[in-house]
Symmetry: C2
Subunit: 316 residues, 2 copies
């Protein structure tokens, strides 16, 4: 008989395998007329969807709401996209309620829960996954509705994610190195894909149950660089750089940062593919596998988020 750990492990890995299918999710919603600005409300694994969308779409102002409140400008002319995988996130529901009062257009992206009842329009996504494993289902309706993806992006992304699903030894190797010395991961992303570094840090948190440091180029050259040179405990860090592209000025920053601080990245990871979708998803998926393998090495259930569940129960 399978142990609970084996069952959970299979379930978690099975969820990672669905990401490539998720990018094929074709749902979209109609944009309201006279749309002036967009607010995306969401927390955690649902909230990161707004951050990624904002980096890929900027024809209108996009503002993120990651707590109970909405910005004052929200009203007619604003589309509030409330994203909550479960549909029961208290902050997002509060923001959605506030959006109603203000007369904003509201779209909910959810697998069910109260949000499916509350929102004016709802994009219903498949249930049964961990929110952090359902990023594709939550992101694609936004990208589709705002027509962000160029032709061929989805096919390109599917192929890249499929190859990664078949061979994720790169992430596994990093996991082994981190595990061996109990390193604290230091993830540096690169503008305009800055949200990916944060996503990696939250995957370290939730899957491997580890703290992780993160920042982004070029911002980190204005502050964090000083710590890279002179902090204590630097030998406890495992620095990884996630490239957004190989633009000359960013590559020069990366090289110059290593030169002036003496820090050497353990890995400098290039995005795969040519479309934004493929690049973002490929960078992200490496982190998914790395943190999965790291959980396994630590003897920890990557699926387990019981502390978060207990906390939610206490707040009820």
């Amino acid at each position: 008989m399978e142990s609970q750990a084996e069952i959970n492990d299979k379930k978690f890995l099975g969820e990672l395998l669905t990401l490539k299918e998720q990018v094929k999710f074709r749902e979209r919603f109609a944009l309201p007329q006279d749309l002036r600005d967009v607010v995306i409300a969401g927390m955690g694994g649902s909230g990161i969807v707004g951050s990624i969308f904002k980096e890929l779409y900027s024809k209108l102002p996009v503002v993120l709401a990651n707590s109970y409140e909405l910005p004052d400008f929200v009203g007619k002319g604003t589309l509030v996209v409330a994203i909550s995988y479960s549909g029961n996130t208290e902050e997002t529901l509060a923001a959605c309620g506030e959006a109603k009062k203000r007369g904003a257009s509201i779209v909910g992206i959810t697998s069910g829960g109260a949000l499916a009842q509350e929102a004016e329009k709802v994009v219903k996504i498949p249930s049964g996954l961990q929110p952090r494993s359902a990023l594709g289902y939550m992101l694609m309706p936004l990208l589709n509705s705002f027509e962000v993806c160029k032709d061929g992006s989805v096919e390109e992304t599917y192929g890249i994610l499929e190859r990664m699903d078949n061979d994720n030894s790169f992430g596994e190797k990093m996991a082994e190195e981190i595990f061996k010395e109990k390193y604290i991961p230091l993830i540096y992303g690169t503008s305009p894909y800055s949200s990916i570094a944060y996503r990696w840090s939250t995957q370290f948190n939730e899957n491997a149950k580890l703290m992780a440091l993160w920042s982004n180029f070029p911002e980190l050259n204005h502050n964090n660089t000083m710590a890279l040179k002179a902090s204590y405990r630097l030998d406890e860090l495992y620095p990884i750089c996630l490239l957004s592209n190989k633009s000359e000025r960013i590559m020069r920053r990366i090289n110059a940062t290593q030169e002036v601080t003496g820090m050497r990245f353990r890995q400098i990871i290039e995005p795969q593919g040519t479309s934004n979708l493929a690049q973002v998803m490929s960078l992200m998926h490496i982190g998914d596998y790395l943190t999965y393998h790291l959980a396994k090495l630590r003897g920890i259930d990557p699926l387990d988020v019981s502390a978060i569940e207990s906390l939610k129960a206490k707040l009820k």
Copy 2:
């Protein structure tokens, strides 16, 4: 004769003492007519000004630009506020140049440099400080122009900062505790003052030359909480919580987080005063002093940002 270290120390401490004077800075600029949205471009110690402003003002969409590029929506109807203390930040100058091409209104907030020449309108601020010590000079023109501060805010803030300048033993005590065990600071802010946690982390970076972890309530209850319970190296962390206010639902989150994870905050710091300005500035200034004292304990020059300067020189 004074050593260079003594001279730098005096200069740094002298700069901290000016913050209370900075909040009295009365400069403002006229807002363009038919203003639709605001973009604030800036990096590091200048960029944080935009983050703080965005948390205090939201009658219009405010979008931050923390790299070379501007969002696509920028055009007529957008006010681009380019903030660079030196006036020579390459990313901010690139964003400013782009704003010109798009026909946006542009205001520069700077002590001089190329930005003073480039921007349509310029708010000139006093020179001679470190950018991170000039936050008040850069922030107040924004708050004044958008009429964010209620009557009495400046006076209240002045009094609070003055008391902190006279007695910063609270920050000093924390510095001693962190130094003694070589802790890695873990700073949790609280919405809507989330930018203060990031500001603290960058002050740890630049002043004390230390890495610091940071996140915010309620976001951290959706990911980081798992690491709080089961990460390795947890005994190396020094967790501090910065409150935005004592709203019941946030206090319940803070207590529940401690209960479910077993983590105990070393400090839970309340903001001082009743105005937003006083609260933000008081929370921030404690971090200024903490990181100053920590630099001294480490035998490090808090003023020194030579690695950042070398990096800039290499990129020229």
